[in-house]
Structures are given as C-alpha cells and as structure tokens.
C-alpha cells in the first residue's frame, strides 16, 4: 500500500476516532434546564369548537441534570390543569424532576387528556453521552 493511500485511510479514521472520543468524554450541556411548553391563547375555545389539534407533544423527554425542569405556561383565557396542578391564565408551573422514570399526567390542553413525561438519567458514561448527542442531533434535525 502506498504512503498516499495509507494517508487517505488514516486521516478519516483518526478524525472519526477523535469525534467519537469527544462525543463520549466531553461534557454534555443544554442552554437551559427549563423545557418550555406553552398553552396558547384560545386553546380551550378551539377544543370546545371540536378542534382536536394537538398543541403540546403527547410525550416529553427530559434528562436529569440537563433539561430536567418542565416549564409550562398557560397563555389561554381559562384555567388549565396540568398533572399535579391547576394553572390560572397567565400563570406558569415550573416542575423539577429528580428521579428518572416515566410520569403520566392529566392535561386539559391535550385532546387525549394525557401527557407523558419521560425522565431519563444523566448520561454519565461515554456510550450514553454518544447516544444522547446522536438523539439530540436527530431530534433537532427533525424539527
């Protein structure tokens, strides 16, 4: 194998290993611990008119130590119930999570009346960091 050909193989390999090393060992971070969702003005009226459009996702994924605070804002004209609490118009609920688990909450802003919050553990190990980064990249790409 010629030296030039070896270089063509070695450079991408080293780059891939470096990227993998970075993805596995560099700290993961997010801009804010708050994962914000808003119940828009007129949601209740739309619901009463028979509109079943989903305003909030039926499943929210949070990660302990990263985005582990669910922040809900009720911008509607009527009180809305989300899981543990009623929220008056203009009010927000900042709900922190400390345990990784799947939580089922009642939610009046959903057509189904339910919302699932999946709280995952902090990606401490290299493999979990890589998986977390890939998923974040994929979800951001899909938005």
């Amino acid at each position: 194998m010629s030296g030039k050909r070896r270089l063509w193989i070695a450079v991408p390999l080293v780059a891939a290993l470096a990227a993998l090393g970075w993805a596995g060992f560099a700290p993961v971070s997010v801009p804010s611990r708050d994962e914000l969702f808003e119940i828009p003005k007129g949601t209740y009226a739309r619901r009463m008119a028979g509109d079943k459009v989903e305003i909030l996702p039926s499943k929210v994924r949070l990660t302990i130590g990263l985005n582990d605070v669910l922040l809900l804002r009720n911008l509607d004209d009527v009180p809305q119930v989300f899981g543990p609490s009623i929220m008056m118009p203009g009010q927000s609920l900042s709900l922190p999570f400390e345990k990784a688990a799947e939580y089922q909450f009642a939610c009046t802003a959903h057509a189904s009346g339910q919302m699932t919050v999946l709280v995952e553990p902090y990606p401490a190990m290299p493999w979990s960091k890589i998986r977390w980064r890939v998923r974040e990249w994929w979800e951001n790409k899909s938005k």
Partner: protein, 192 residues
C-alpha cells in the same frame, strides 16, 4: 504528552460527572403566585374551614377520602412524618385534607381517620355541591369505580398544594415525594 492527554481526559470527565445545581424547591413552583382559592367547607375541628384563618402558617392542602387504600395513607403518613421531622417548626405548618367522598366522609369519620396520622390535621367536609366546588377551584379530578357488591373506590388527583404564609398558592408537590423533600421545601417556605 500522554500525561497531558490523561489529565485532559480526567478534567473533562470530572466536569461531565459533576452534580447538577439543585432547584430551589423540590415542588413545582407556580408563578406568579396568586391567592389560594378559598374553601367553603366545614372543618373536622368543628369550625368553618377557612384557609384565611391559617395566615402565618404554611398550609399543605390535599384531597382524598377515608376509605382510600392506596394513595391517601401514604400521603398522610408522609405529611405526618414531615411535621414530626420539623420539630418546633411544625407548629407553623397546617395540613388540610379535603374529602372527595362526601357521601361517606362526615366530620366525625374524617377526624378519626386523620387523627390516626396526626391529630393536628384538619379535614374538610361538606355537601356534594360544596366538595365539587372545592375540587373545581383546585383542578382536582375524581372518578368513582363501583364494584359488583355495590362498594366503590375513588381515583383522584393526588398532588399536594403548598400555600405560603401569606395565603398565596405557591407550589404543588406531585404524589410520590419523600418526607425529606417536604421538610426541605417547608424549611425554605417557613423562612420567607
């Protein structure tokens, strides 16, 4: 070179494993704080149940029923444990437990039930219409499930509202939190 790389790896791992900053309250925080809706019920202490009369205390408000076999005993035991752990500060914490089963829970029955956990707990009872109004103002849902023998149980919202010393509906603790979580939040709220 290898030492430098090892040091870099160690430092980056250290940052990666660092514990996150804890939130101020373990409970979900409502913002802006609004006045807690007043209850128009009878208390198991023989008086009209009036949240305003507890100004100066932190009120833990929850809904349940005396025949509950799952959620309520755990919630009440947790709240009793928190009061016990608070020591002298417990005098500034009032637990109010409103029935969602007015057909079976009268004042005497609720009083006896709550006293098994903590004699200072005050229950809220009333007519079906009064209970419905209280549930609505706090977004509390309840669903009756009737068994073949005619007996029934009630599935109900299980969170605990935390009302601050000024009467503001400050926070809500979802079901499943520990005694220590309540003590943590109550200590913060009793300081403010």
């Amino acid at each position: 070179m290898i030492r430098r790389l090892a040091l870099l790896l160690l430092l980056s791992s250290g940052v990666a494993f660092a514990a996150p900053e804890p939130a101020a309250l373990k409970a979900g925080v409502l913002s802006p704080v609004m006045a807690a809706p007043e209850l128009k019920l009878q208390g198991t202490d023989g008086k009209a149940l009036n949240l305003a009369s507890y100004r100066g205390k932190v009120v833990l408000l929850a809904f349940g029923f005396s025949s509950c076999g799952e959620v309520c005993p755990i919630t009440l035991a947790t709240l009793a444990g928190a009061r016990k752990k608070l020591g002298a500060d417990a005098a500034n914490v009032q637990v109010v437990y409103v029935t969602v089963d007015p057909e079976r829970d009268d004042a005497a029955r609720m009083k006896k039930y709550l006293a098994a956990f903590d004699a200072t707990f005050v229950g809220g009872v009333g007519s079906r219409a009064e209970i419905d109004a209280a549930q609505k103002s706090y977004g509390i849902s309840s669903t009756k499930k009737v068994y073949a023998d005619g007996n029934y149980t009630i599935g109900h919202s299980s969170s605990i509202y935390i009302i601050d010393r000024a009467g503001g509906l400050r926070a809500v603790m979802p079901y499943g939190h520990t005694v220590d979580d309540f003590v943590h939040d109550l200590k913060i709220l009793l300081r403010t």
